[in-house]
Amino acid sequence: MPNSYAPQLPTDYSYLDRDEFRAKYTERSGTQIRFFVGGMRCGKCVRTLEQIPLRLKGVRRLRVELSRSLAEAEIDPAEISFSDLANEIARLGFQPIPITPEQGADALGRQTDRRELIRLAIAGALAGNIMTFSFAAYFGAEGEWLTAFQWLSFVLYLPVLTYVAWPFYVGAWNSLKNKQLSIDLPMAIASVSGFVFSTVQLLRGRDDIYFDSLSGFLFLILAARWLQRRMQRRFLRPELLTESSQLGRARVLGENGWDWAPTESLKPGSEIFVTMGESLPADSELVTESALFSLAWLSGENSPRIFRAGAMVPAGARLVAGSARLIAKKPLAETGFGRILQQAQQFSLSENRVISLADKWAQWLLGIVFTTALIFLALYSMVSVEEAIRRSLALIILACPCAMAFGTPLALAAALRKARQAGLIVQDANVFENTRRVETVFFDKTGTLTDTELTLREDPKIIPEDYKSIILGLENESLHPIAFALRKALADENVIPIPLRNRKEIPGRGVEGSIGKRFFELKSGPANGYSHCVLFENGTPVFHFTFAAEINRDAREVLVDLRRRGYRVALLSGDKQAVADQLSKDLDFEFDEVHCEVTPEMKAEIVGRTPKAMMVGDGVNDSLAMMRATVGVAVRGGVEAALKSSGVYLCESGLKGITRLIEISEGAASSIKTNLMVSVIYNSVGGALALLGYINPLVAALLMPASSGFILLSTWWRGIR
């Protein structure tokens, strides 16, 4: 199939007007739609977008939500189409990506949010009022007032007992069903038994009534949970959502020529068409003679790869230039990339692990507390039943394992959030713990310490004008890295390439061609640490060019910093020793270890036999090594590789992320350590005092929120620093 093939293509957003898409993306009999709007940052954007209805007839209204980069619009389909609206948004400089109602609304999450916020508010209001009445009692209210206040507290505690504490009962019940101890269990027990005990005491006319402490403590725990939920939210970048949305459609050749179709409707054998910048919605076979695809999303390989007609191109590969025709073979949902996207969308990657990690520790403490309380209750009942109940209740309330149950997740969630701000996608919270153990850091050379692309080291100005045109003429269509480098260097010079006669590219050697009688060759020269090539005119060398892969701009800074922190720093490279030496010289940094001419398998070998190693690498080449390492860090690599090798993915270019990762890990660890220490001291001292009768449930309920409050605040404070 000739390259000049120019099909009649549908306009950019026209697919939105087709029934299948309307059914998928719109609501309310096809009048409302939601877009994820890329590039929306500030108030100005809000204004620009929300004023669309004033300019565009038929757009009834439009409303944006900055926090989630969403725009919600209603149109009059008789007057305007969704594609017109999308085009207008795009014209204003944003990237509108339609999303399905399920994707955009995350209705379930929002409903839960609202429900829990209301529960929290009611808990707070009730606890506040109950506290007010008990304060009055502590400050000396007596007689009728005291009795009235106590009964008031009782009345106000009823909704606490039933409504506010409900999630704890559910959690406790579930944990009992699963034969596990969970943090919900002591809450449920405290809520109910405290209520029964206090009511009995109220009826007997006693003073030790704990409605205030119980409601206060349930409120604080709800508050902590709510905070935690918020912090763990959305720490994956929205890029994945974008990507998946773009992959929601494809140009398919139908009876009426090319038109958009939803990706789900793609069948093996459908003929599809992609243009520059688009990703493949299916594993497909290339029809076009040759095409340049970037596999960055998949493997992290930055330099595009040439595919020839008949080759299989994986879903998720992005067309770098021109356009291409393909035949779909395997639908997106069945491809590896499709599965990753699905996983990422569920946002379930980290949350569960954080909680389970903390729960494991909490369970231990709970086990100990419950056993102690039961034994004590049994034994002390022989002395005094009332006192036995009071003291064991105090123990249960006091020994709430909040440091672990909330402090740890909070610290880790804060670390995750910070990581995200620093442009790190961290697969799970274990990474922070593992990072702390690392002693040796291995760096891959190409693509990690250096760029994958080559750069001309000489100033292009010294080349005479006519030679520039000739060089460009020679290299104009080549896909060799050196050709890229030369084209890049001459891009600013306004050079017009001269077409050459008999231009030929000889793989492994270079390019040649002639103008009139002048015969030119551009061949690689001898290597001496740099890539080197020579321009020959009629067999005589005219110019020498040297090329280097540009060193990552903060590589040196990061390496020096790592050494200062006491890490061993090692280099792994597929290149020759000379190249590695040159790099060392350019970086002005002596590596502790240098391994040259190593294959990916050898890299994995080396990393694998080094205990406590961090592997910093790039994409598919290093994924083996990263998997064997304690922590694998993918630099500018593919998400897939990063997620698979249980590691970290640096979204921002540069290596600074590594130092940030170490700092964040240390911060989280020290935060957790402090929490644990406080918790252990508090629980053992407080527990002993409770059992000895020095702490009644009231004091316990004041101490518990105080200790939790301290832990939450200190964690939060460390978290925002």
Binding site: V46, L66, S67, R114, L117, I118, A121, I122, G128, N129
Partner: protein, 44 residues
């Protein structure tokens, strides 16, 4: 002193009234998006 008999319930009723208002505002979605409104407020 019996004036407290009126004032405490009054404060409670006011308090619960505001709690009701808060619940309404959450249910109505008033607090779903807390990032855009301040930007919108400074536009006429």
């Amino acid at each position: 002193m019996n004036i407290l008999v009126i004032m405490i319930p009054l404060s409670l009723v006011l308090g619960f009234l505001f709690l009701g208002a808060f619940i309404w505002s959450v249910q109505d979605g008033q607090l779903d998006d807390t990032e855009t409104p301040p930007h919108r407020a400074i536009e006429d």
